[in-house]
Each structure stands twice: as structure tokens, then as C-alpha cells.
């Protein structure tokens, strides 16, 4: 049995990178330029994916450091 459910690192890294993209996009230009909009939207998508992975891992009862 592996001591790590892959969904924990997957969820963590994409939530983190998604948040970085969204914040960077929001801060980098105002009013929002097209390039900043891409960062914000895509950051949101990554956060959604990351959060779903974390939720699935949590529901599976897996622990990050088993």
C-alpha cells in the first residue's frame, strides 16, 4: 500500500498554481487586459480541478502522510 494518495499532491499543486495565476492576473493589469483575463480564468479552472482532487482524496479517507 502506497503511503500517499496521488490526489493529495495533484490537488495541492493545482490549487496552489491556480491561486497564483488568478492573483497574478488580477494584480498585473487594471482594467483587466486580455492576457490578465486568461490568467484569471485559467487560474480559476486549475483551482476548481485542484479542489475536486482534494475533496476526492479527503472522501476516500486517504491521509497525506499515511
Amino acid at each position: 500500500m502506497s503511503p500517499l494518495d496521488i490526489r493529495w499532491p495533484l490537488g495541492s499543486i493545482f490549487t496552489l498554481i491556480g491561486a497564483i495565476l488568478a492573483v497574478y492576473g488580477a494584480l498585473s493589469a487594471w482594467p483587466i487586459a486580455a492576457s490578465a483575463a486568461i490568467d484569471i480564468v485559467w487560474g480559476g479552472v486549475l483551482m476548481l480541478f485542484g479542489a475536486s482532487m482534494l475533496l476526492l482524496a479527503h472522501r476516500a479517507g486517504a491521509k497525506p502522510h499515511g
Binding site: 502506497s2 499532491p9 499543486i13 493545482f14 497564483i20 490568467d39
Partner: protein, 573 residues
Amino acid sequence: MTGTALAIHLRAVDWLILVIYFIFVLGIGFVLKKGVKTSADFFLAGRSIPAWVAGLAFMSANLGAQEVIGMAASGAKYGMITSHFYWVGAVPAMVFLGIFMMPFYYGSRARSVPEYLSLRFDEKTRAFNAISFSIMTVMSSGISMYAMGLLLQLLLGWSFDLSMLVCAGVILAYITFGGLTSAIYNEVLQFFFIVFGFAPLVFLGLRDVGWWPGLRAGLEHVAVLQGFAPGAFSESWRYLGSAAANPFGVEWFGMVMGLGFVLSFGYWCTDFLIVQRAMAADSMSAARRTPLIATFPKMLFPFLVIVPGMIAIALTRYPGSGFALPPKPDGTLNYDLVIPIMLGHYLPNGVLGLGMTALIASFMSGMAGNVTAFNTVWTNDIYQPYIRPGASDEHYLWMGRCATVVGVALSLLAAYLVSQFNNIMDVLQLVFAFVNAPLFATFLLGMFWRPANGHGAFVGLIAGTAAAALHHGLTLPAHSIPGIKGGWLGVLHHYPSEMAQNLWTAIFAWSTCFFCTILVSLATRASPARNLVGLAYAATPRLKDTAASWHQRPATLGVLALIAACLLNWLFW
């Protein structure tokens, strides 16, 4: 953004994403270290990987940067016809592996493909495969490293030596810590990085050219400029009636038999680098589902890697688009730069860091896959049977870790060797074709024809490899000079393209191995009453996967995958 310059300018946010990726990769290896207690944990991930994880890793093991860069380059060079590498040249073979071959690989409890050959045939057949596979694996890993160092130097101005050493160090650390599990987990991570890094590129590119109708119109212009019918770059089957009618230079028989059968089945069903991922699955059912699950993302990947190439060539040939692929010194377009140039052209900083990380991840994953396959084959199929039999499990685990260090060091050496000799990449491609194509005939007969024996398999493999060399030596692609491209024994036939020559070389190699194995097996005495249960179809009870629900059964998944692949072929006919 004009973006046609070669340099890509990363900002702090892009660097941050790259650094986060490296930290996670090393962290995964470190956390998994505590789970590696036996050699089976290290080499086979303890046979504990769930089917969906093994399936994504199975697909990602083939998603090295050479594949990503190469398929985008082919998309630009040949158009939609490149999709045959997926819908014809991958899906059917993956379905065959899952339904028919996996029961023997997994059921035999072999730890590797060469070990299966030893159980089914004999030691000489195993040794031949283990040695040729080890050499090819190290060379392939070295080429991946070399390509990465070169690309990072060209695009980001990084030091060639430093970027190779840093990536090699990271790979060495996470494989030495976590073995195959670590490699598999990082392959899954890489899979999602590629999806999330390239999807915005495809979206923005398609929006720029006017979606699919606009891309089709642009490609019609490209096709006509090259002397083909307008649809030759956007349709995959319609122009395969004659080799001269499509940019691939291959007719339908060569495509179906050469790519769809010999090369594809030879690679997907016998290459240990790929099969190892399925062998790590946590049950027979999961092992069979592994390649079947992988078919679904695999058949969608042309939209992520081939379409950017098609967009790039359409924009390059479209006056006033503001985008152009850079030329090589000989004046032809440098198709290999499609993905990096497109990343720089379309993605803003932030998402650009994600895309570049995906590219670097695919390079590293390609190398890591080769290194894990090498350490397993070296330890289980060369060291244990021929150098130090009967040692303790701890010793073989230690040797596996040593082999990882040696594998990475040899890969670095191979990378520098490649940088010294221009032709080594071409030679390796040839060796792959020579060795992999006949091997599938050996497996096909071994699993499905009971009288096949060790002498037949060994002679068949040697004869098949020799036939490939002979065919290559007597034929030459158009516009090539005799030498590394072929014709070194004299030119009996000219092929319209290198692709056509490769496919026919594979067909000759496979056929020779197939018939020689049969003839020698019939002429020599079969090995004394071997127990073929779990090794050959006729001697093995049929598997009934009744435990899984109907939609998880291999047959259901296989049929669904084939229907989906047929649908895609029809849509882009």
C-alpha cells in the same frame, strides 16, 4: 505579441510555477521513500497502483518531450494525417494489450518483459531482449536529455550543462527514493500539466485562425502550395489511395499494416517501458484496464499536440498573420520549434510558466520512464540471473538504486555523445525499428501458438533484425543520399518518404521474424514439457472478469474505445 523571435521571456511568476513543480516532484519521492521496503516495491510499485493512476501513467510514459515536440512537428509537416499515430497506431494495439496480452504478462508474475521471454522461451531469448532493451533505453534517455538541454539553451538562454545536470539530479533523487511508484506519480502529475499547459494554447490558436473552418481554409492554402489536393492537410484517410497524393508519402496498406499493425503493436504491446506501468497495477483486473483506460485520453491528444502544429503552419503560410516558424540553416522550416514558439506567441506570463513547466516535465518524465525501465531490466534480467544469482532481496533493492545512479550517469554520457555526433539520433531510430518490430512477432507466436519454442524465437528475432537491416540497406527515401538514410548496400527501390521506408522496413522485419520462428520451431524439438499455464493462450483457462461491474470490464472498455476511435477516424476522414 509578435512572438516569432526564438527567445521566451519568463517572469518571476513563471519561475515560481517551475520551482513549485520541482519541489512537489522531489516531495513526492521523499514521501514515497517510506513505502519502499522490498525490491518488488521499488521495481513494481508493490503491485499496488489503482487502475486509473496506472492508466494515466501508461499513457504519460509515452508522452516524453520527443513525442510532444515530434507530434506537433508532424502536425505542421503532414497535417491531420498525423492522427493515424493515435487512432490507428495506438488505440487498437492498446485494446489488444489489455484484453489479450495483459493476462499473460500479469498472470505469469514476471517482473519484466524479458523475464516473460525467459519463462515462455529460454534464457538466450531473454538475454538478447534484455541487453538490446537496456542499450536502447539508456540511449533514448540520453537523447531526451540532450534535446531538453538544447531547447532550454535556445529558448531561455539557460546553460546546456547546468539544465541537464539539474534535471538529471532531480530525476535521480525521486527515483532513488520512491522507485517506480515515484516515477508513476510524477507521470500522472506531468499528464495534468500537459493538459492544463497546452489547452489554453489550442483554444487561443484556434480562436486566432477562425476555429476549425478557418483552420481548414488555411490548411487548404498550405496543401495547394505543396502541390496536393486542398483537403490533404485536414483529412486523414481521403488521400491515402496513393502515396503521391498525401504529404506522408504512404498509401493505405503501408499505413494500416506498417503503422497500424507492426510498429504500433510492436511498441505498445512489447516495450517494457510502457508495459511496466500496467504490471504495477493492484490486480489482474486493474492491469487489464490500465491500457484500456489510457486509450481515452490518448485518442484526444491529437487535439492538444497535433492541432498546434496545424495552426502554426497555417499561420506561417498566411500572409500578414504576424507568426512564422523559424527556418533551419538549410532554409527549410524548423518544425521542432512549433510548441515552444506557440507557447511564447500565445500565452501570457503566468500561463506561460505553466506551459513551459509542462514541456520540462515531459522531458523529465521521458527520461525517468527510461531510467526506471533500465534499473528493472538490469537488476532482474541481467544482474540477478547472470552476475549474482541467489542474493538477498535487500541486495537486489540496493542494486536497483545503484542501477538508477548508473542509468542516469549513462544517460548524461549518451546526451554528450549525441551532441558530438549528428547521426546518432537517426541511428537510434533505426535500431528501434530493427529491434521492436520483430519482437511483436515473437510475442504473438509465444502467446498464441503453443509449438513456438526458444530456438525458433531466438533465430526469428535475429533474422527479423537482419531483414530490417537488409531492407534498409537496399532502399532509399526520395531526395536522400545513400548512407544513414538507407541504400548503403545499393539502391533497389526508392520510397516517396522516410516514413514509407520506415513502415516497410518494419513490415519486412516482422514478417521475417514471424515465418522464421514458425519454421525453426517446427524443425527443432520443442523444449521439454514446459508448463505453459499463464504463459500461452491455449494452456491458460479463460479469464472471466465477473467481479467488476459491466462498465469496468475489459471487453466493455475495449469495445467502447474501438467505437470512439472509429468515430474519430470517420469525423476526420
